[in-house]
Subunit: 380 residues, 2 copies
Amino acid sequence: MLYFDHGATSYPKPKNVIAGMIRALEDFCANPGRAGHQSALQASREIYDAREVVAGFFNIKDPKQLIFTLNCTEALNLGIKGVLKSGDHVITTSMEHNSVLRPIKALEKEGVENTIIQCNKDGSLPLEKVDQSIQENTRLIVLTHSSNLTGTLMPIAEVGKIARERGILFLVDAAQTAGLYPIDVEKMYIDLLAAPGHKSLLGPQGSGFLYIKEGLYLKTLKEGGTGSKSQDFVQPDILPDRYESGTPNTPGIIGLKEGIQYIQQQGRENLLRHEESLVKYFLQEVSKLDYIEVYGPKDCKKQSPVVALNFRGMDSSEIAYILDSVFNIAVRPGLHCAPLAHKTIGTLEQGAVRFSFGYSTTMEEVAKGIEAIKTIGSEL
Amino acid sequence: MLYFDHGATSYPKPKNVIAGMIRALEDFCANPGRAGHQSALQASREIYDAREVVAGFFNIKDPKQLIFTLNCTEALNLGIKGVLKSGDHVITTSMEHNSVLRPIKALEKEGVENTIIQCNKDGSLPLEKVDQSIQENTRLIVLTHSSNLTGTLMPIAEVGKIARERGILFLVDAAQTAGLYPIDVEKMYIDLLAAPGHKSLLGPQGSGFLYIKEGLYLKTLKEGGTGSKSQDFVQPDILPDRYESGTPNTPGIIGLKEGIQYIQQQGRENLLRHEESLVKYFLQEVSKLDYIEVYGPKDCKKQSPVVALNFRGMDSSEIAYILDSVFNIAVRPGLHCAPLAHKTIGTLEQGAVRFSFGYSTTMEEVAKGIEAIKTIGSEL
């Protein structure tokens, strides 16, 4: 199989990720923070280590501000619902994933207003609209770092600066970028950072996190046993306990740590350069084909390693089906859980075929993908 | 290490659980339900298989009514907060875990009333109080199947019958029993069943589920991408999608399935008989020691395989520390995230030392545990 669906989840995982998970399952998967015996303490220490590794990667000073979650969606829900209350206003964009749009729409019923900034046809954000959308009751700006449809990279540091200057909280959805692009929560004025563990961070499904800026106090999504202040009925204030009720996904968290360590060994910038070169080559070749319409910035420096395209007039699912069944190539068709993004680029009816590359994708694989596209095109 | 902390998490896991997770990670960990290519479809099918296996184990007719969660705490939060709204009344007991008490207490602020039934000193439920606690606005009864402190088994079928007759929903917390005791959602009138995957179901940490009776419509805890009805801003109604936003923990879910298959191969009743015999022997021996106070029913037929005890007058953490450091025995001291249960049995100050046994515990190990207790006792 040629796997061009890294935007959904990276595959295969680095060997050390799986090895780390096996080690966790076999050697110390007692319940962390729930007892004082050696195995439980080891689990606690290993999770703390993982917290330090993840925090360090994003320049998060205090690892306790990092909350492990099931996935990025949970992290986004915690960030959005933890901050916003009736009477507040939130700003986001038309390029967001449903994991941002649906919680924000659900909050409308509870009296939270929203403004969804219409992005440009290539997915880019008209920066001046951010400023224009700010109201007196604006409490939060939620912005994806990169569209999961077109890959369009968003100016998060610039938006972060505006938010900070205006006293507004800033939540970044790093679903498509964490692990590959530099993200520094201090320099980029990020108050809340949500990310999945299983995409470019190369960890397993079942892992993700939310960073919460020190001093920021969120409403909890869930309450329960934390192994701390057990005599209290009220969820404790101490972090990360406050937001991490119940038994954590110990093997998943260890796998996430191993994913980051793999990236650090390879060099994040090297991986980025490699993936940029794949996108550059792919864009260059498909742009020559007059029956192909490519969406997004069409510039490997302006988009994460995903490319959305269509065969003119053909349903995206049909193309994906042919790629899969005839060429054994895995891509993702359809709406990608981002309806407004499709409306923005004009593909709400047709959907789009998304090619997304990853750390393990080779130039030869991309070449085979291009060949397959040409073969399909020659038979149209 | 002698591992007597199965009540926190089962350890070690059966070999097939780890093998199943490795298979998932290596062979088909594409993103289920997010694309139509073969690897994504295989992930979807494997998760559906797992859903069928888990559902079948609890006599859940429609696997789609089974919602995979991060842990039992998330399942309980979804069940409790999904059902209750301002003006409702909920009944629970003093033997519940903080994963039940804390969400219920958090809902007080939103106008949800509660009654916490005071249990007897051995943790048992005075059944007549259930009926007496029902009000006109009672919407839900939440009951643990077994106390995580004393092991006391609760009459869930009887309480379920009362609830059904009175038109009240019934949520069972099966954290300490799922996998070991027979649970039939139909026969026991269970409308909502919450369980962790990583205790007696022998799956990995990071897995758990909530069963929701057909036709019961809950408020969501989280909204996001579901891979279905992507054009809608509103969370879809179809199950399990409605309650499973974002990428699932595919390897964890496969591990949970493998855990259940291990139980089915061994025979659930055989495992139960084995663990009952361990408790019987342990209770028999420690009851002879006049410096030991044992809590709970003191009857292997009336308690799940956990035994709470104290060395008279000594702090539970001190005893656990000695067991760990001198004898390499892992137990859990302290409050076990169940403050009212400790108040009920009279150990809120002292805490208690919990010995909890599991499928892999042998009679020889229990004998060594008893020897250790006697050695400590002889030096008091």
